[in-house]
Amino acid sequence: MTTPGYSEKESWPLWEVFVRAGRGLSHVHVGSLHAPDATLAVRNARDLYTRRREGLSIWVVPAAAVTTSDPDARDEWFESPAGKNYRHAVYYTHAEGVRHL
């Protein structure tokens, strides 16, 4: 991360924002923003995503720290399970002679 103003064509790094809406719920991704550092990213997130009492807590993560699946590989990765009943346990019948399964 460079100091703001250090390089000639400065651009703040991108952060992913997660907001927890209530007790017992998990943090949910709500969007992203630019900020020079993590401390200001949390504040910017507060201004951008929680102005209407949406949240109890905010997480920010450098977008560069998030490793994602390849969007172009979506078809192979997330193919419908239809026609693949063998993936489910109930597909298999008891073997003969196994009494206590």
């Binding site: 103003g5 703040w12 630019h34 200001l40 504040r43 910017n44 201004d47």
Partner: protein, 290 residues
């Protein structure tokens, strides 16, 4: 104030009487304080409380107008939104305070915001100071929010119930404004040579106007525990400011106070221009709602 309602309202029409001339007979919608704002339906203020509420309301209103000028001009989109949100908080505080002030003599918050002349405003010189660059705005914001936070933290315990209720809500808002200003002061003061130079220049520009915030007047004597005595804020506010400056590696400016007269209606050369821009629409279309 109605000029600063939600974006949905901004594009509404000026309501014209269908039977009237296009330039006249503008409908007057009663301006009511939004129920979410403190002070709606509250008790009437007496003359002294009204004067004091104008001090605070005018500070918030003028500073909001200054900060609003940053929208679309800030260094980054995120700062546009941060400064705009701070301005909106201040408009909310100004609405509550001016509404309360107006109950003393039957004037509305809009009457007080848009139909008072420069000499009738009671804002401090600090909030009138030009935006300058981003560092200058942060310097002004650091002083203003530190002062407001200390003020509202005490005013929420004042014996005047409406002022106390307004302060109780405002103290949470200005705590965030102060945090925002502190974060940027640390980064600009302890950043590059250029950011430091600008932050020092910004502090030098606003420092002569700090002293006015702590001046007591006969009004304060009459109000007693219904208000906060400004001189009692001097030490905690300056201590808080010095602490931030120390962390940011900045020296406290060694500058004499400027002769200010905002609480008596004597203003710097800047307020007239601010009011001209803020009031022009309301004065050209009296009674219009938008």
């Amino acid at each position: 104030m109605s000029a600063t309602r939600t974006a949905d309202d901004v594009h509404g029409d000026i309501h014209r009487d269908v039977h009237g001339d296009i330039h006249g007979d503008v409908h007057v919608d009663a301006v009511e304080l939004d129920p979410e704002l403190v002070g709606a339906g509250g008790a009437d203020a007496d003359h002294d409380v009204a004067q004091y509420a104008q001090w605070l309301g005018d500070d918030a209103l003028v500073l909001a107008q200054r900060l609003g000028a940053w929208i679309s001009r800030a260094p980054e989109l995120e700062e546009d939104i941060a400064l705009g949100n701070i301005a909106l908080d201040l408009v909310g505080q100004a609405r509550s305070l001016l509404h309360h002030a107006g109950t003393a003599d039957g004037r509305s918050e809009d009457d007080l915001a848009y139909f008072r002349d420069e000499t009738e405003f009671r804002s401090s010189w600090l909030v009138e100071q030009p935006n300058g660059d981003f560092a200058a705005t942060i310097a002004r914001q650091l002083v203003a929010s530190t002062y407001m936070h200390e003020l509202y933290a005490r005013l929420q315990h004042a014996s005047e119930p409406t002022l106390a209720a307004i302060a109780a809500k405002a103290v949470l808002e200005v705590a965030y404004h102060r945090d925002h200003a502190v974060q940027w002061t640390l980064r600009l003061g302890d950043g590059t040579d250029e950011s430091r130079r600008r932050m020092v220049a910004g502090l030098d520009a606003v420092w002569p106007y700090v002293d006015e915030l702590f001046a007591d007047t006969p009004l304060i004597d009459r109000l007693g525990d219904r208000a906060v005595r400004p001189s009692t804020l001097r030490e905690p506010v300056l201590a808080a400011l010095r602490d931030v400056l120390r962390q940011a590696g900045l020296a406290e400016p060694d500058l004499p106070p400027a002769p200010c007269g905002g609480r008596a209606g004597r203003h710097s050369e800047y307020l007239g221009y601010i009011l001209a821009e803020m009031q022009v629409l309301a004065r050209q279309h009296p009674g219009a709602s938008w």
